[in-house]
């Protein structure tokens, strides 16, 4: 068996990874409409309505005020904290015409250029970002 028997222990470990929000059931529940809103941007007619008036489009979705503000601000770290998942949120930045590298870099504190340079040099080392508790 590779799966732990204790779901609580399984979930607790995810909170120990630095700079990472694992898409658990709790986040999936909190972000259900946020992710479904993002998913609606898969349809060209919805993208047009969204681009014409973002706030009006959001008003049609039962999102929290925090979620709406974070969407309008394109604050992806905050959206992850509010239950967003990156594969769904990607529909927002794709509609903005941004690539994954451009959008993902905004969550790291680095500029797009710095992030790209890090990737070209082999990416972010796992050293020091494996565990908060163990500091490794």
């Amino acid at each position: 068996m590779t799966a732990p028997k204790d779901i609580h222990a399984y979930l607790a470990e995810f909170e120990d990874i630095p700079g990472t929000r694992v898409f658990t059931a709790a986040r999936a529940r909190q972000g259900y409409y946020l992710n479904q809103f993002a998913m609606s941007l898969m349809k060209p007619e919805n993208r047009e309505r969204w681009k014409a008036d973002e706030a009006a489009y959001l008003a049609g979705w039962p999102l929290s005020e925090d979620q709406k503000q974070a969407v309008l601000a394109r604050d992806y770290n905050r959206l992850l904290n509010l239950g967003g998942n990156i594969y769904f949120l990607s529909k927002i930045f794709s509609t903005d015409g941004l690539s994954f590298v451009q959008a993902v870099s905004t969550m790291t504190g680095a500029s797009v250029e710095e992030y790209q340079a890090m990737m070209n040099a082999g990416g972010r080392s796992p050293e020091g970002v494996r565990s908060k508790g163990e500091g490794r």
């Binding site: 590779t2 799966a3 700079g19 898409f23 059931a25 999936a28 769904f88 994954f100 990737m119 796992p126």
Partner: protein, 280 residues
């Protein structure tokens, strides 16, 4: 009788579809990635598989949060490339193999795997990018495809051990299909990458290469890697590598290496690619 003749592991990075479609595949950035697939394209032409069982994950294209199947199998006649927000890729439609797919679905359910059956869906880059990487620019795909979608987005995804066991059951199902078919199984997704949060951009070349090496010969240890290790060591999206274990499980106790390629970076990820044959 049908038989699984080979397994292919490969990342399915969406940017590779863009590079392929815009013919940038031999420029300075993409050249080292695409040349790693030259051997495989020549080999696929000679190997002439009839069907590929293509293990991948949907990226919020066919499935949204309404339904989240852990394992789903495409039993339809054909699948169109999905519109992922930039319009559908201009690549051929994917032709299914409903007879084989239904046979596998029924066999797996009797083996106590609770499969979701899909008759209609569009397929996203997770499925079409590997086809482009293995077959290049073609008017129609030279194989029929049985899509097998795995949830690796909403936790918990299936364990590596469960994926391996599913692969073993797929091999038994294929072997009991009466038609003479040359079948390959591809495991796609991964390798190390994290697309979210302050830790985005994580790459662990040492771990990835250990995993690739582990797929050759006896690989039993790989099925016991827990989710938390993929997350810590290979980033939040590195969990996609459990899908390679469905491919590996289907190849039996031991494999022989035919081709191997690894390169960093490819967009936000490491690209890994391996071709294996079952050892008799």
């Amino acid at each position: 009788m049908a038989r699984i003749t080979a397994g292919v592991g490969s990342s399915h990075v969406p940017l590779l579809g863009v590079a392929h479609d815009q013919k940038k595949d031999r420029d300075a950035y993409f050249g080292p990635i695409f040349t790693g697939f030259d051997w495989t394209r020549a080999w696929e032409k000679a190997a002439k598989p009839d069907v590929v069982i293509l293990v991948y994950n949907d990226h919020a294209s066919a499935f949204d949060m309404k339904f989240i199947p852990t394992f789903a199998i495409g039993c339809g006649e054909r699948y169109q490339p999905a519109d992922e927000g930039w319009g559908p890729r201009q690549v051929p439609q994917v032709i299914g193999h409903p007879d084989l797919a239904w046979h596998i679905a029924q066999s797996l359910i009797l083996e106590e795997f609770d499969m979701t059956i899909i008759n209609e869906m569009d397929v996203d880059h997770g499925l079409t990018v590997p086809l482009s990487m293995m077959f290049g620019d073609v008017a129609e795909w030279p194989v029929r495809v049985v899509p097998l979608a795995v949830n690796v987005v909403t936790y918990p995804p299936p364990s590596g051990n469960r994926c391996w066991a599913l692969g073993e059951a797929i091999a038994r199902a294929v072997a009991s299909f009466p038609e003479d078919l040359n079948v390959q199984i591809w495991g796609t997704g991964g390798m190390s990458h994290q697309l979210q949060g302050p830790r985005a951009g994580l790459i662990n070349q040492e771990w990835d290469n250990r995993f690739l090496n582990g797929l050759v010969g006896g690989s039993d240890h790989l099925r016991h890697i827990p989710h938390i290790e993929y997350l810590r060591e290979t980033g939040s999206e590195g969990i996609e590598m459990v899908m390679w274990l469905i491919m590996r499980g289907a190849l039996g106790p031991s494999t022989r290496l035919l081709h191997r390629h690894y390169h960093v970076p490819c967009s936000n990820t490491a690209i890994g690619h391996i071709v294996l044959e079952p050892n008799p």
